[in-house]
């Protein structure tokens, strides 16, 4: 019975929190976009029937209400069952992933109560594999929706998006493997606790893994440098061209939640989760005050990563499709494998003698990691398949020059 009540409270908090966060992050994103483009952004919607504007804080609520009250028509040419099922699949898969995101463990100090693990599914030993598996289900939502829509824009968008999602899942998995190797556990709690216990975050020791993971999670969430799936100028809306009303909202919220989930994972795997030096302590269980500080630190880090996602959106142009696939298979996958092998070699051959020689382990690992990042970056630049593909075709240039000289 306690299990049911505890689970229900956690579920309500996480669903409510995510819905609110998604709505208000859209507002934050629009304000950030406005700030970057030197506009004002949405700042007028406040309390209805008054003149109070509240910096546009009413905007997300107005948007939600409008989504519900818009006409939601099903076009005549679609496959009805799949057309309705696809946004549900995407929406559910995007939220169910958060069942394994840990917020730390709190000891309320009440006699007879065990410490409460602030995660929807406590004791899930394979948290990372669970997240990895559930996040892949988004591909089904995209493909089903695009196929059921029976529309050319939706179909091309869906096929492109599916190819992109499955291609970037492999670098994502390889980058996670490096962290798993360094920690020896698939539980996200254990990964955070290992970083907290040593005080050395994985970003210091595995910057190459972070780079691969960051690029892959950008692509998985379909955000701007990689938003080929719905490149407005070519494909109207991509796979959700034929959707309207609340079904469109479910797709859009799901995409936003992918970005939020990516930010959570980046913080958990590479930026120490709830840990901050001298502020949160480093044991696994905390009292209620420290637990609140930990949650605040965790959410602040996640918010920082989300802001990075937003700023990146307005800083880079969109990739071309061949560049996108080339980056996944020819650059990110080899870099991820290099990171994996380097971590394995470090554990097998280098760690024991170096620690025996009296060197501080964290410092040596950090130096080795950043050296590896530099070497790998130089090697990738020297090989540079994408940069070479971008140059104008030499033979075409020569032919043009010859024709001009002949004239």
């Amino acid at each position: 019975m306690y299990l049911v009540i505890e689970s229900l409270i956690k579920i309500v908090v996480i669903i409510g929190g995510l819905m609110g966060a998604a709505a208000y992050l859209v507002l934050v994103e629009r304000r950030v976009a406005a700030w970057i483009q030197d506009r004002r952004g949405p700042n007028r919607v406040g309390i209805p029937l008054t003149e109070i504007r509240l910096f546009g804080l009413g905007q997300p609520i107005a948007d939600g209400v409008k989504f519900i009250f818009k006409e939601e028509f099903v076009p005549g040419h679609v496959d009805r069952l799949l057309y309705v099922a696809a946004p549900m699949v995407m929406f559910i898969a995007a939220i169910v992933l958060f069942a394994a995101i840990p917020f730390g463990t709190v000891d309320l100090g009440i006699a007879g109560w065990a410490p409460i693990n602030l995660v929807v599914a406590p004791g899930l030993d394979v948290g990372i594999i669970y997240i990895f598996a559930v996040s892949s289900i988004a591909v089904y939502g995209v493909l089903l929706g695009s196929w059921a829509s029976n529309n050319k824009y939706a179909f091309f968008g869906g096929v492109r998006s599916a190819a992109q999602l499955i291609s970037y899942e492999i670098p994502l998995g390889v980058a996670i493997l490096g962290v798993v190797l360094a920690t020896g556990s698939l539980r996200l709690e254990a990964i955070v606790e290992a970083q907290a216990a040593t005080g050395v975050w994985n970003v210091a020791t595995q910057p190459l893994g972070l780079l691969v993971f960051l690029v892959a999670s950008f692509a998985e969430s379909g955000r701007l440098p990689f938003d080929l799936a719905e490149s407005e100028q070519e494909l109207v809306g991509g796979f959700h061209t034929e959707y309207s009303g609340i079904k469109l909202m479910m797709y859009l919220v799901a995409e936003y939640l992918h970005m939020i989930a990516g930010s959570f994972l980046i913080v958990l795997l590479f930026f120490g989760g709830w840990h901050f030096w001298g502020l949160t302590g480093d044991g696994p269980v905390a009292g209620i005050g420290v637990a609140l500080v930990r949650i605040a630190v965790f959410l602040a880090k996640v918010l920082a990563v989300i802001l990075f996602f937003m700023i990146a959106r307005w800083s880079w142009p969109r990739f071309r499709f061949d560049q996108l696939m080339g980056l996944a298979w020819k650059v990110m996958l080899p870099l991820g494998l290099v990171n994996l092998v380097a971590v394995a070699v470090w554990i097998e051959y280098l760690r024991t003698p170096l620690v025996a020689a009296g060197l501080p382990e964290g410092l040596v690992m950090a130096v080795a990691g950043w050296l590896l990042l530099g070497v790998a970056g130089l090697a990738a630049t020297a090989a540079a398949p994408s940069a070479r593909d971008n140059r104008p075709d030499r033979s075409l240039v020569a032919r043009y020059r010859d024709a001009r000289e002949a004239r």
Binding site: E71, P75, M88, A99, N150, N151, I170, L181, M325
Partner: protein
């Protein structure tokens, strides 16, 4: 085990409920004026020219096959990574639990990775990842 799976099932069930509730909300709250133009596929205002479900580029299928291979191999590597880092102690055939890391686990993983990379190089040379 019961305590692990139950919250997940509850979470999943409540999400299905939420999704269905949202869909029903949209069904009941919105206006409903169906016209012939709304029922047409959207093609930037032109009349649709041919059916959508025709043949498409085979390279998407090649990428899907390559993905299947690499994804399954990655799943093999996860338990290897845990065992390698000393997180799990498998039983030796003699019945004694292994002390520390089991023998040859590094070499085994590397052999597996070399085979993976060989397949990757073969794919690359065959032009699976070339997109024009």
């Amino acid at each position: 085990m019961h305590g692990v799976v139950f919250p997940l099932v509850l979470f999943f069930a409540s999400l299905v409920g939420l999704a269905v509730a949202l869909l029903l909300l949209g069904q009941f709250c919105g206006p409903r004026r169906v016209t012939d133009v709304k029922r047409m596929p959207y093609e930037s205002g032109m009349d649709p020219i041919h059916p959508t479900r025709r043949r498409f580029d085979v390279r998407f299928s090649l990428v899907a096959i390559a993905f299947l291979i690499f994804d399954v191999e990655l799943l093999f590597l996860y338990p290897w990574a845990v065992v390698f880092a000393g997180g799990a102690q498998p039983e030796l055939p003699s019945g004694a639990a292994a002390a520390g890391r089991p023998p040859l686990v590094f070499a085994g993983g590397m052999v597996f990775l070399v085979l993976l990379v060989l397949g990757f190089v073969y794919d690359w040379r065959k032009g699976v990842f070339r997109w024009r």
